[in-house]
Symmetry: C2
Subunit: 198 residues, 2 copies
């Protein structure tokens, strides 16, 4: 069964996210998951491999959640882009992931702990961020942006700024600060959705 493996990854995600990667020992994960040590080392060659599995799971979980929130908010790409910041705010307030309070972005945290850009965890974090920019760029293109790449980079930067501000300073309202800027950017740099009378 892959269920033991999933239990491990799920528990490790929670503990790593809550207490950090280096500060969380293997034994604690095993105890909370109710899994024997040899089972872990059958599925993963090392703690580092477990960390990478956790980051990959988080990448999937987080992007599914974020895209879902954006897509259920509206079918207009401009409104979808703006809805990202509403989703962020509910995350900052602990309303997004069941059982996981807000402790910043797991990928920013990973890049902090594994500062070497060549470290696999740092690279995985960079890939996650790039995937989100790619998604934003698609939406910017749909929204008729003159320079979808530039606008996507700008919106992504606002997202990172909001996450860090919310986490370091304990200010979930940073999402609204970012949304205000984003709204001005989007209305200045994109054409509105085509309307019948146009």
């Amino acid at each position: 069964m892959a269920s033991r493996r999933d239990d491990l990854v799920e528990t490790a995600l929670r503990l790593f996210y809550t207490s950090g990667f280096n500060a969380t020992g293997i034994d604690k994960i095993l105890a909370e998951a109710g899994v024997a040590k040899m089972t872990l080392y059958k599925h993963f060659r090392s703690k580092e491999e477990l960390i990478l599995a956790v980051l990959n799971r988080r990448d999937e979980q987080f992007r599914n959640w974020l895209m879902g929130e954006m897509e259920k908010a509206s079918s207009d790409p401009r409104e979808r882009l703006l809805a990202m910041f509403d989703a962020l705010e509910s995350w900052f307030r602990g309303q997004a992931f069941k059982g996981l309070g807000f402790n910043g972005c797991a990928f920013i945290n990973a890049s902090s702990e594994f500062g070497d850009p060549q470290h696999p965890a740092h690279r995985t974090a960079a890939e996650h961020k790039q995937r989100i920019v790619d998604y934003l760029e698609r939406l910017c293109r749909e929204a008729g942006a003159a320079d979808p790449h530039e606008l996507a980079e700008r919106l992504a930067l606002l997202k990172e700024g909001a996450i860090v501000t919310a986490h370091v300073r304990g200010m979930p309202e940073a999402a609204r600060t970012a949304k205000g800027i984003a709204a001005e950017l989007i209305s200045a740099k994109t054409a509105p959705a085509s309307v019948p009378s146009a």
Copy 2:
């Protein structure tokens, strides 16, 4: 002499910043600083106290550097605000602090490793960020912003976004992305410096 204490804090800053707080052991700091263990524990009660001393030193060092760069760039508050992003870019490219490459923001890193908002290191990080916002707000007021508080929060958020993007994705050019947004905000939300003909 306070010189031993300074050696410790300086060396600890470099190692903590390069390799992380939890991942850097006391013994490594002592070996590189050439200081005996008992000397450390005479000046600091624990590793945590050393970490706090390091963060306080970094706060002073970083803000002095940043304000210095901004103030030497221009005497116009609007241009000073924009100059922040040029300073950030030189930091991202490793040209700001002698002997310290760019490894993200020490305070964001501290908040990542010490995720609990009540942790002294996390609180110190929040204070550092607040001091920078306060400085930006003064400049925004000088620049004639209608809402200096809001504009300062926006510029600070852009700064955090640039730092994270530069670090996680290895993109020092994020400073220019942020500067582009900031330029539009500043010119839209402030009055230009008074000119003789006005």
